[in-house]
Amino acid sequence: MSEGGLPDRIRTALALLREFYDAPHRGALARARQEEEDLFLLMVLSEMMGIPNPAAYHTLELLPLVWEEFHDWHRRMGMERSPLDHIRCC
């Protein structure tokens, strides 16, 4: 057994245990997270799509941060093309 082999093995065993915990539900959790993110994007973009948003002043600041995800989001929402005239991602 190499020097420090035991801690390595323990570390591997703990990583495998964690994998045993995570893996079966990874997909369900990722989908739930995505649903939350989709709702969040809808809130951020709502004013632009004609839905009054009392927090628009604050969510406007978030626009640059969600820019990258916009294209994937509108595709996931079933809109083949960008729903906003001034954002021509595709």
């Binding site: 245990l17 994998e19 893996a23 959790l29």
Partner: protein
């Protein structure tokens, strides 16, 4: 005869099956190729498709497929004597379940990780896919109803299991919160959870919690438990996965390994004698012939269609190397077989005398889990020097946890199916999670009470019907595999023979039971039997058509199928 002999024979059979038969199937029939890039690599997305260490994958696969069913089935079936149940479990695991589970895994991995339902459509046709969905829905309906009744009976029969069974929910909630919200590493919460679980068994043993004899709301105690369990399952299935389902599955997985270890250690130390006869010469009057009923009474533990869903639904998407199909698929089936073997030993060697055993197995529906708990508890107490009632609490909690985790998942899956139907047929209200859950729960309750009357205790009456539906699903998977193999130009008899055997036994069992239900005036069960029989007939018709088409294709000009053999 000593139970150790049975353990050695059973585990030896699984080992030989793994060493020789699974090697033959993997090399000659599936032709597993280590250089094949599995969907976990080609479609890797960090979510569903993730290459996973084979030990971890086997751990998931085994804990996902193992539940209360491989305990309940053998616990009922030993009424015919230990030999038929033992032989069916050993041969079924090696020659039926192994090739079925590994085959579903392999076929799915060779088809971009598609589920067996999607493969049914691709390989057999659209009608078969629709049939598949119906059979799955029936299966979930029955599994939820049966397991609710099984747990309710255990709570009534063993009130010492009530506190630990509910306490584990609190433990799971805390673990979920610690890991997800606090980012605590997993090791110590796991150790503490197991210690607390076993400590709670001591508390439960000291403070048994029984409902009043008459239960609540005018229902008896078992019926009250059934209502409470479905209320719990509805809430649990609506909660986010990380809150309860994930930590609960995890604790249950650990408990499965620890529990099996404790049990086999106790058998080794106690080396009890098998008091039940190999073949029971004094069968109670209501027990049907073991052919065909044995083969549907023991589904999980010998072969179960549910495994194909797990193999192709999640396991195949995480397969690191195609060679792992043999390790994960065949050893997953062997793990389930070992659980069934434990149940057979508990129910045949855990009694003081033959008269005791016969007293317990006085009618077809009277054995089951109570026999497992009583017999297993006795073996654990002899082997490990624990009090008998503590041993019983331990086994009762083990069975309750298995059944309850399956119920949580079962109700959730049923909700998904109802929501999917809402989407397919454009019925907007069905897409709502609350209404879909409500419909799922009401359907299960209707079955639980419809089968057993107002007491809601008819669970064991529908057990063989549940097994039959499970076998129909396994039959469909074996059919898909056979057609797939035929199209590749490989020998399909290793899946075709189990398929034919299962379909014959399942259809025969349905006819035998239909007659019984009708004669006894159990019309609700007769109608249910008829619905499953219709599904079985359609499966047979679909099969004949698919096999003829595949045969014609293979024999066609140029041997089209053979060219795909490398695919």
């Amino acid at each position: 005869m000593n139970a150790l002999f049975l353990v050695a024979l059973g585990l030896g059979g699984f080992t030989l099956g793994y060493l020789f038969y699974s090697k033959f199937i993997s090399e000659r029939i599936f032709q597993l190729d280590p250089s094949f890039r599995t969907p976990a690599h080609t479609l890797e997305d960090g979510v569903d498709f993730v290459p996973t260490n084979r030990w971890v994958l086997w751990g998931h696969h085994f804990t996902s497929v193992a539940g209360a069913a491989p305990i309940v089935g053998p616990a009922i079936a030993v009424i015919w004597g230990w030999l038929p149940a033992f032989l069916w479990v050993v041969f079924g695991t090696v020659f039926f379940a192994g090739i079925h589970d590994a085959g579903a895994l392999w076929a799915s991995a060779r088809n971009q990780g598609k589920s067996i339902g999607a493969l049914t459509e691709a390989v057999v046709g659209k009608r078969a896919r629709a049939l598949f969905m119906i059979v799955i829905f029936l299966l979930l309906l029955m599994v939820n109803a049966v397991f609710a009744i099984v747990i309710a009976n255990l709570f009534v029969g063993y009130p010492s299991s009530v506190i630990p069974a509910w306490f584990v929910i609190a433990v799971a909630l805390v673990i979920g919160w610690l890991l997800y919200r606090r980012g605590v590493p997993l090791f110590w919460p796991s150790v503490v959870a197991l210690v607390l679980l076993y400590a709670s068994m001591w508390v439960g043993d000291a403070v048994p919690l029984a409902l009043p004899e008459g239960g609540f709301f005018g229902l008896g105690a078992p019926a009250t438990w059934v209502m409470l369990l479905f209320a719990y399952a509805a809430v649990a299935s609506l909660l986010p996965v990380w809150v309860l389902l994930q930590p609960r599955d995890y604790i249950n997985g650990l408990q499965l390994f620890v529990g099996l270890g404790i049990f086999f250690l106790a058998v080794l130390l106690a080396s009890p004698a098998v008091v039940a006869p190999p073949v029971n010469p004094n069968l109670p009057a209501d027990v049907p012939s073991f052919i065909p009923l044995l083969f549907v009474t023991i589904a999980c533990g010998a072969i179960s269609g549910f495994h194909g869903l797990v193999s192709s639904g999640t396991t195949s998407k995480q397969l690191d190397n195609e060679k792992d199909v043999r390790f994960v698929g065949f050893l997953g089936a062997a793990g389930e077989g070992a659980l069934a073997l434990a149940a057979i030993i508990a129910c045949t060697a855990g009694f003081a005398s033959l008269a005791d055993w016969e007293g317990f197995y006085a009618s077809f529906a009277s054995g089951g889990l109570p026999a497992f708990v009583q017999g297993g508890g006795s073996i654990v107490s002899q082997g490990l020097g624990l009090p008998q009632h503590f041993g019983e609490t331990l086994l009762a909690v083990m069975a309750v946890l298995f059944a309850a985790t399956t119920m949580d998942t079962g109700v959730r899956l049923q909700r998904y199916i109802i929501q999917e139907w809402g989407s397919i047929y454009g019925i907007g209200v069905l897409r709502g999670r609350y209404l879909a859950t409500g419909i799922a729960v009401v359907a299960c309750l209707a079955l639980a009470f419809g089968a057993g009357g107002g007491a809601g205790t008819g669970g064991l009456l529908i057990w063989p019907l549940f097994g039959t539906t499970n076998q129909l699903l396994a039959g469909l998977t074996l059919l898909v595999l056979s057609v797939f193999l035929m199209k590749l130009g490989r020998r399909s008899r290793f899946t075709l023979v189990p398929f034919l055997f299962l379909m014959t036994m399942a259809t025969w069992a349905l006819l035998v039971q239909l007659r019984q239900f009708w004669e006894r005036g159990q019309y609700f069960l007769a109608v249910l039997d008829l619905v499953i029989l219709v599904a079985a007939v359609f499966v047979v018709l679909e099969s004949v058509g698919a096999l003829r088409r595949a045969h014609a294709e293979r024999g066609g000009p140029g041997g089209q199928g053979r060219r795909g053999a490398t695919g």
